[in-house]
Amino acid sequence: MNTEATLVPDLLRRFVATPHSFRFCIGRTCAKLETNDLALASTIQGATVCREDSRAQGDSDWKLIRDEQAPCGGREVSVLSAGPIGTLLVGAGTVIAVDRERREVLGFIAPDISGEEFIDLVLPLILKLLQPQANPPSQ
């Protein structure tokens, strides 16, 4: 606490501007993507079907931040999922949360994950996490 008014740091990087936005479809998933990374946006546009029409029911909202401050290294993949929400970790610094109920994909991409690697490695995992979860086994 400080009596001098100061700009509070955005430690979680919640408020990074995402000026690049477009709609796309891949398989049966349609989404609106917002990102701060023009190169990543171009790569995703190149690998998916562009859709300019208005939002349809069932569309998901994606926000992907190219996170220059994230740690690099490793390609270990971990998926943690419970109820309507799941998270995907790739390497040391890529973190993506998927809210199936709200149809939201919220993630940070480490600097060492190229656009191509995102398409080949990360995107299929996000699509899988977005699918409705099977009922848990009876306890």
């Binding site: 400080n2 979680l12 998270t87 949360a97």
Partner: protein, 324 residues
Amino acid sequence: MLMIDVFAHGYRFNLHLAGTVCEVETNHCRLGFTLRYWTVAAPEGDATGNFAMQIFVSAGSAPPSERPHFRGLNHVVVASFGHANVFLFDLLRRRIIAQVSERVAGDPLFWNERLLPIAVGVFGPTVGVVPVHCACLCLEGEGVLVAGISGAGKSTLSAALVQSGFDYVSDDWTYIGRGDGGLLAHGMSAHIKLLPDAIAHFPMLAEHSLITSLNGELAYEVAADAFGGDIFRSCEPRRCIFLERSSQLTSSFAPLGAEQMRLGLQSSVERLPSQLPEAARTRSEIIEELACLPCWTFRYGGTPQFAAQEILAFVCSQKQELTT
């Protein structure tokens, strides 16, 4: 690829954390023992909010990484302490899902000093608690919040105040919520973090080792009761003191207005995403109440022990004024 579906588990218990109740569900029989300091039989009446934590413990001895990786967007925050120890905070549903290694599940220091304070800080106003960057000490049941910019000496002064007869609630982050009789200040850590140069004022630190703290700094982390006072989990905040260092070996107190106090509090809290309007409202209300506390700027030079004596004398005189 490690893929874990965290379903319901066999073990359930409640934790009482900074006035909130956390309902824990886990597959690990010993996690309840690790968290026993916080366990309550049933939710207490003064709880301001609830959240749930589902923890899947997997076999393995992976320690938590020293520097966690935190990121958040909208209503979701992820804290990763390496791939084996991951926490996902869902602020809308007030729920944590986590997987941890068996080693972390049995490590009370990790939970008490790192994860649980982080959890309360992350959920914050969504469960009716505002994390404020200040220390809290308690004299005869009355809390004194001690604030100041980084480097103003909050922690060293906290240790000196405990030596002077205050009881300890917190030295760095204090969690303000509402109780039956008004505001309550809660502490989440029983340890005071002191930088290496504090040894000049506290020779007893020579008996302790420097460790790497959560923000990467080398520091002593010493149980507050080692300085002589008791550790309280919470107290009613009655006063607030803002520290300002001076090169002069003198001290002075000057009243601080509610508006300045409000601005100081608002400028130190994290921005909230638009998905959490109720939390923003709760936080504003608590800050408004906090700003009404009597508040002073304390300008001082010299040792923390000197400053502590000055504060002790000031607080005693304030209490006496109120009783006469």
